[in-house]
Symmetry: C2
Subunit: 384 residues, 2 copies
């Protein structure tokens, strides 16, 4: 009996992410665990439900049936097994799910380890706003456009927007399901899942045929976090599965990121709490996410600096004079010179230069700040 | 010559927040500084501008004229002098402004030190969105309703919304101006400023008659930060005066807070940068601000927890059974028992209890999750 075969049987009879099962497999190895299960089953010493499952399991048939549908089963030691899955063995269970999966079921052309090498999870509320969906789509497209795999859960709302953004950018994307990869949940995303399986990967810890249950979503969320460098939560109500994924990301020391939104928007509340209380990194677009999940220097800081304007080109003296020009009521050059603390002749020269740059106005022997068309007086200056 | 008189003269001839002046006054005292200035003036050893100002100063006339307009001048040592202003003496200048003010000009019935005891600054963009103005108004009202003084700059946009919120809650508010307190800037806020002077305070480091210049806004911003426990920035473009105030708050070790907004909104960009790069605290409403600026325990954490629902009242066994019920396609009780790992009889009892709570549906010998009217299946559960 090979470890692969034992893992296959355990995948068919166990619950995804059952920490008792995953823990024992990590500790004793799959062969020993399966042998012990079978011995207890023969002794009548196993729970009725599990015993029945074990007796009913037809691993070779299941594998063959899966293969006919283009589904493969991968286990630790396989070339494409993602090494990051092992990190799960070292963190405590959450909501009674945990541990490294005994195996993964895959549908799609990509090699799993390569697809996940630089992957980022983009997750969020099913009841997303158009704002959240637009941001998730942009992040998905930017990541995938940079060659980074976008991992999500194929749910309504943020998940699908992230997948679709990645697909639109013709970049890699991986859907991690709570049910078997042969099933479409939600049903409305059957075509989306088929497309992802055509160009990316649809994966699950649950064997084909497994239905989506609440606890399988919780098990699935830990995989999304574990298999990626970081998790971006775009919108999430205060109690939501996305925050469950975020908790996994945090305990796995992955980069946890959140997109802010209007404080008046319920779907942003969970994200704001995450930023405030969990120290999640605030990100505003795909570039922020790239930067936060890249090796140092791979993506340079490129923060908006505001428009460059004439003010940036002034000499220190001109700037000092400009700062002394009243916003509203014009004054004579002498008063400006006194305020600026600069001699009258130099002040006048500076005022003329400022006038030629359109920064000050002159009329009736008085100087005042020009009313710039694009901004209120002093807006970019010192006004609060 | 009293320190008060020297400070009065220095306030009339110096620029607000000129760090050379404020630094010397902190070091040598106002009398010595004024005496030295006068000596250098007599020796013809003073810049022409300053010398002219000094010769033109009529301190007693200025004070009397101010008093006729209900304006008073306060200096360190006065009962109502705010002790927090002294903190400015210990931090380096920013944009060539800095130091503790030589005095402050006040208009309004409140006692300055009392008004500022628990004050919070609420500042932001002049070109605020309706979203930002609404949030600033709520924060102003909540703070003032709790007896906390709302300090701002009386500018268009966020400032006025914060003041108006405080006034609507009949709470204390203080406007800090860049020009003399006898002037209305912006002119459109003349009535607002008069009202604040009637029930709160309008204050300035600039003497009556001083015009608003860019550098005086910068000097003013440092006062807003220094005189408050913390500064909330509601909306701020990347280059904005509000961020200048925020920088002062940070260097003065005041609590720096920012209200997030849509990442697609330019006026929120500066705030997002502040939260990300400066570690500003993300706040979403007035209660958050109260909590962040109060003594420990004064305002308890009261985070939204999401609606309490029937799920919260289940036994562990019922919950385990519920977690094993499929989201969509119904299955027989036996399969649920196997998934849950709970004996058939107990599973059936749990399913019946769950049905009476409206959490599962039964039909055609099959059980499935109830489609709750208020949420998609699994939305608050494990789905991302």
């Amino acid at each position: 009996m090979s470890g692969r075969h034992a893992r296959l049987v355990l995948s068919l009879v166990g619950e995804p992410g059952d920490p008792r099962l995953t823990g024992l497999v990590s500790e004793l190895g799959p062969d020993a665990v399966l042998a012990a299960l079978r011995a207890r089953c023969d002794d009548g010493d196993l729970g009725a439900a599990l015993a029945e499952r074990l007796r009913a399991a037809r691993p070779d048939d299941a594998l063959a049936a899966a293969a006919r549908r283009g589904i493969r089963f991968v286990v630790p030691g396989d070339e494409e097994w993602p090494v990051t899955a092992a990190d799960l063995a070292s963190v405590p269970p959450l909501h009674e799910r945990g541990g490294s999966p005994v195996g993964l079921w895959l549908r799609g052309p990509l090699r799993l380890d390569e697809a996940l090498a630089d992957a980022v999870a983009v997750v969020g509320s099913r009841s997303a706003t158009t704002y959240g969906a637009a941001v998730a789509g942009e992040i998905g497209a930017t990541l995938a456009g940079a060659g980074r795999t976008v991992v999500s859960g194929a749910a309504f709302g943020i998940d699908q927007a992230a997948h679709r953004g990645a697909l639109a950018a013709r970049g890699p994307t991986v859907a991690v399901l709570a049910c078997g990869v042969d099933r479409a949940y939600p049903l409305a995303h059957a075509a989306l899942l088929d497309y992802i399986a055509e160009v990316g990967l649809v994966i699950s810890e649950a064997a084909p045929g497994f239905a989506p249950t609440r606890i399988r979503f919780l098990a699935r969320n830990r995989l999304i976090a574990a298999l990626t460098r970081g998790t971006v939560v775009v919108e999430a109500a205060v109690r939501s599965g996305a925050l469950n994924t975020a908790n996994w990301a945090a305990s796995l020391s992955r980069t946890l990121m959140g997109v802010p939104g209007p404080v008046t928007s319920a779907p942003s509340q969970g994200v704001h709490q995450m930023i405030r209380a969990r120290g999640a990194l605030l990100v505003t677009d795909g570039r922020d996410v790239l930067e936060a999940t890249s090796q140092a220097g791979e993506f340079a800081m490129d923060r908006p600096l505001g428009a460059i304007d004439a003010r940036d080109c002034l000499t220190p003296e001109q700037r000092q004079v400009l700062d002394a020009v009243p916003v509203r009521q014009g004054v004579e050059a002498g008063r400006i010179a006194r305020t600026a603390g600069i001699a009258a002749g130099q002040t006048l020269a500076a005022l003329k230069a400022l006038k030629s740059l359109g920064l000050v106005e002159y009329g009736n022997r008085r100087w005042r700040l020009a009313a710039a068309p694009s901004r209120l007086p002093g807006t970019d200056a010192g006004g609060s």
